[in-house]
């Protein structure tokens, strides 16, 4: 499944989306850059709360298919600008890590029921 499809189903808002055709091979969650460096696999969609500029560098280095910024403050504009420059897909969501992971996991496992869960 490509990044565009993932973005559509999860309702993600693109901040930089230079490669919507990128194939999403799996998912990875961490708020720690060192963990992402050590443990993420190429093609993973990385779900994180971290909005640091270095997120873009890690995503690029690890050849991740996209970065999903979980709920939280708007990242600084230079983060999106850097992502565009480096060719990294950067999207944001109002949902937290648990929910994003839950829905992406189901989506990648081919579960048709990945519509947003009833909230509250």
């Amino acid at each position: 499944m490509n990044a565009r499809e993932v973005a559509r189903v999860l309702g993600l808002e693109p901040l930089a989306f230079p490669h919507p055709e990128a194939e999403v091979g799996g998912g990875f969650c961490s708020d720690l850059l060192s963990r992402a460096m050590a443990e993420a696999s190429p093609g993973d969609a990385w779900i994180t709360y971290q909005r640091h500029l270095n997120v873009v560098a890690v995503a690029k280095l690890k050849e991740l298919s996209l970065v999903i910024l979980a709920r939280g403050p708007e990242p600084e504009p230079e983060v999106a600008a850097r992502a565009e420059e480096e060719g990294v897909n950067l999207l944001r969501s109002d949902d937290g890590m648990f929910e994003l992971a839950g829905r992406l996991y189901a989506l990648l496992a081919g579960d048709p029921e990945t519509h947003p869960a009833e909230r509250g």
């Binding site: 720690l32 060192s34 403050p73 600084e76």
Partner: protein, 144 residues
């Protein structure tokens, strides 16, 4: 109480929670004071070489004072902005640096006063009212 090393982060807030519970303070107030204290002591541990936290419990409110002789804060508006953080990499690797600490403190306090002198230090006063959710509480009891 004096927060110290980063490994002790949370020690003051968990201790304060126990004190407040023993005093019969309302659970919701305990929770909010716990969150405020956790964020405040974290900041003292990360950004300064030490400081003091004072807890005052009144019939109508709980107050927390944070004081440190750290580097101080240049722009008081900037640090209140969600997401703003100068946390060093080592702190980020320990799970800090979301830039949500001061916003979290402010949100959980009924009144929140932040004062700082660059080069001298930072002082914070946070008040949580115990009865109802009066925002601008009258000052019953001895003043602070």
């Amino acid at each position: 109480m004096s927060p110290g090393a980063i490994a002790d982060v949370g020690a003051v807030s968990t201790q304060i929670r126990r004190i407040l519970r023993e005093l019969g303070v309302e659970p919701e107030v305990v929770r909010r004071v716990g969150i405020i204290c956790f964020e405040g002591e974290t900041n003292i541990a990360i950004f300064t070489k030490g400081g003091r936290i004072t807890l005052m419990v009144w019939d109508d409110r709980v107050e927390l004072f944070f004081a440190d002789n750290g580097p101080g804060i240049e722009d008081l508006e900037l640090v209140r902005r969600p997401g703003y953080s100068t946390a060093p990499d080592w702190a980020r690797e320990l799970g800090f640096g979301a830039g949500m600490g001061i916003p979290n403190m402010e949100k959980n306090a009924d009144t929140f006063v932040l004062r700082s002198r660059p080069g001298k230090g930072t002082a914070i006063r946070a008040t949580v009212w115990r009865k109802g959710n009066e925002r601008q509480g009258s000052s019953a009891g001895p003043g602070a």
